[in-house]
């Protein structure tokens, strides 16, 4: 579905991504793990169009039989309309807007009011707490609730590919478990997921494949099972279990 080839990205004068290759297949859950500053967030922001790469390609096929589209250089506003939804680092919810307004913003690009209403009911069902707090200011929600709101909002655009940047950050382990359960459900309904995580253990348990990033390059790639057994990975990211 997504093929990133030889991506080089600069942020200002800093050379952040030094030739990244990665792939996400239709229906997969793929994880991208690595230490702080490795470039994981930059990778996601380039895929979703907030950043422009210096060189390289991001080929995207909304459906397996579709022609690949070149995303590199396309503005974020257009990429959203192609079915890619990005849940940014730090949640990125609009604190001054209500929960409901946040959710409806997720559906900003859609033109089918009935479908939007359907999805709205669905996410309220998926995350009942949000349904109870619709008129509240989003900034008054707890960390876990905000994360749920961010994911729910991303779902409101009926994405084919959901990109999540560190969803577990700052959440209690129980909440993270529940969140990841929900992600598994979403995936089963046909949404492909690309996940960046600091919490490598949970990410590897959720994803079928994973990439390890170090200082702007992919250092390891493979099925998560294998990576979980890899000594180097265990030492660096899994707490040497």
């Amino acid at each position: 579905m997504l093929r990133v080839s030889d991506l080089h990205v600069y942020r200002g004068r800093t050379y952040v991504l030094k030739g990244i290759d990665l792939e996400v297949g239709h229906g997969e859950i793929v994880a991208l793990i690595g230490a702080n500053g490795a470039g994981k967030t930059t990778t996601l922001r380039t895929v979703s169009g907030l950043l422009r790469p210096k060189s390289g390609s991001i080929a995207y096929r909304p459906r397996p039989e579709a022609e690949p589209l070149e995303l590199a250089g396309m503005p974020a506003e257009r990429i959203v309309r192609l079915g890619i939804s990005h849940c940014p680092e730090g949640r990125g919810i609009f604190a001054s807007l209500s929960v409901k307004e946040n959710l409806m913003l997720g559906a900003y690009t859609r033109e089918d009011p009935q479908g939007v209403e359907q999805d709205f009911q669905r996410v309220c069902h998926l995350f009942p707490i949000l349904g109870q707090r619709l008129e509240q200011r989003a900034g008054s929600l707890s960390g876990g609730e905000q994360e749920m709101l961010a994911v729910a909002r991303a779902l409101m655009s009926r994405p084919r590919l959901l990109i999540l940047d560190e969803p577990s950050l700052g959440l209690a382990p129980l909440l993270v478990e529940r969140l990841f359960e929900t992600l598994r459900d979403i995936n089963r309904e046909g949404v492909t997921i690309l996940l960046v995580e600091q919490n490598a253990v949970m990410a590897l348990e959720l994803a079928s494949r994973a990439y390890v990033m170090e200082t702007g390059r992919i250092s390891l790639a493979g099925p998560s099972r294998e990576l979980m057994e890899d000594e180097a990975v265990k030492q660096a990211y899994l707490g040497g279990l």
């Binding site: 959203v80 940014p88 609009f94 001054s96 807007l97 409806m104 913003l105 900003y108």
Partner: protein, 298 residues
């Protein structure tokens, strides 16, 4: 100094305040969305005033149509300023945008002098608007009433747009977080442009009101409303539309009461008073009455 005198001063303050509020709202909207002080905002008021003069001179154009067209002129000028000076500066440090808007202001003022000469022009509305209305101890012209009513109507319409329409949600989202707004698929360039257009349209029509209220206009008149809009916006909390409204009325009332209640020798100090108030507020109440504390002010 009887109650009647004070009541009259209050009414005057409210009339003045509604004009300030209109200009302040536009200013605050623009600040809210791009976090830059548009120093040229006051000059759009000036352009609105002169546009009114020009349009009124065309025979056969009814006054309400003039008002509508002035809204359009203001909006257009705002969009031009946004495209020419602010969009290229996006991402640059705060001060750069400020200097750029200062430069635009200087250009507009000097273009005004160049094209229109620095001589003040007389400005008067159609006679039917000059009718005096007397309500007990208080009296005002019909035009003053229209100013207040129009200002209030525009403010209500604006609130409706900002809080009840898709465009309004897009504006508020863009104001809060530009990047995430893009991730929602919002065309931020267009949203910013529309915000500028609306804010500047309000400034334009404030120019029409300004001319009507003070009777004389000149190309340099923009400095005063620009400054007052800024102060009003700061009082209410920059970036907050409701705050700008409140700030505008507070400033209008304060100014009239300051001049009306203190001995006359202090009137000349009015500008200094306004600026001192501004500095004091910036120092002790940086978020004004309703502002967000996300500002890095001190």
């Amino acid at each position: 100094m009887g109650a009647g005198y004070i009541a009259q001063q209050i009414v005057n303050g409210l009339i003045l305040g509604s004009m300030y509020a209109l200009v302040a709202i536009g200013f605050s909207m623009i600040y809210g969305i791009i976090r830059l002080i548009n120093f040229a905002h006051g000059d759009i008021v000036m352009i609105g005033a002169f546009a009114t003069l020009g349009l009124m001179a065309i025979p056969g154009v009814p006054f309400p149509l003039v008002a509508v067209m002035v809204l359009g002129v203001g909006g257009l000028v705002g969009v031009l300023i946004e495209r020419g000076a602010f969009r290229p500066m996006r991402g640059a440090p705060q001060v750069t945008g400020f200097i750029a808007s200062l430069a635009v202001s200087i250009i507009l003022q000097n273009l005004g002098i160049l094209i229109l000469s620095a001589q003040p022009r007389n400005f008067s509305f159609p006679a039917y608007l000059q009718v005096m209305i007397n309500l007990g101890p208080v009296s005002f012209r019909l035009v003053d009433l229209m100013i207040m009513v129009t200002a209030l109507v525009l403010m209500l319409v604006l609130m409706a747009v900002v809080y009840r329409t898709k465009l309004g949600v897009a504006m508020r989202a863009t104001a809060e977080d530009l990047d995430v707004a893009r991730l929602m698929g919002i065309d931020i360039n267009r949203t910013i442009m529309v915000t500028f257009a609306i804010g500047s349209a309000l400034a334009g029509i404030a120019g029409l009101m300004w001319g009507g209220k003070f009777g004389q206009i000149d190309p340099l008149l923009g400095f005063v409303p620009g400054l007052k809009a800024f102060v009003a916006a700061v009082i209410g909390g920059v970036g907050s539309i409701a705050g700008a409204m409140v700030g505008g009325f507070v400033l209008g009332l304060a100014e009239v009461l300051f001049v009306g209640l203190l001995p006359p020798i202090y009137s000349a100090y009015r500008d200094a008073f306004v600026f001192s108030t501004l500095i004091v507020i910036l120092l002790i109440l940086p978020n004004g009455l309703f502002g967000r504390s996300s500002e890095e002010r001190a």
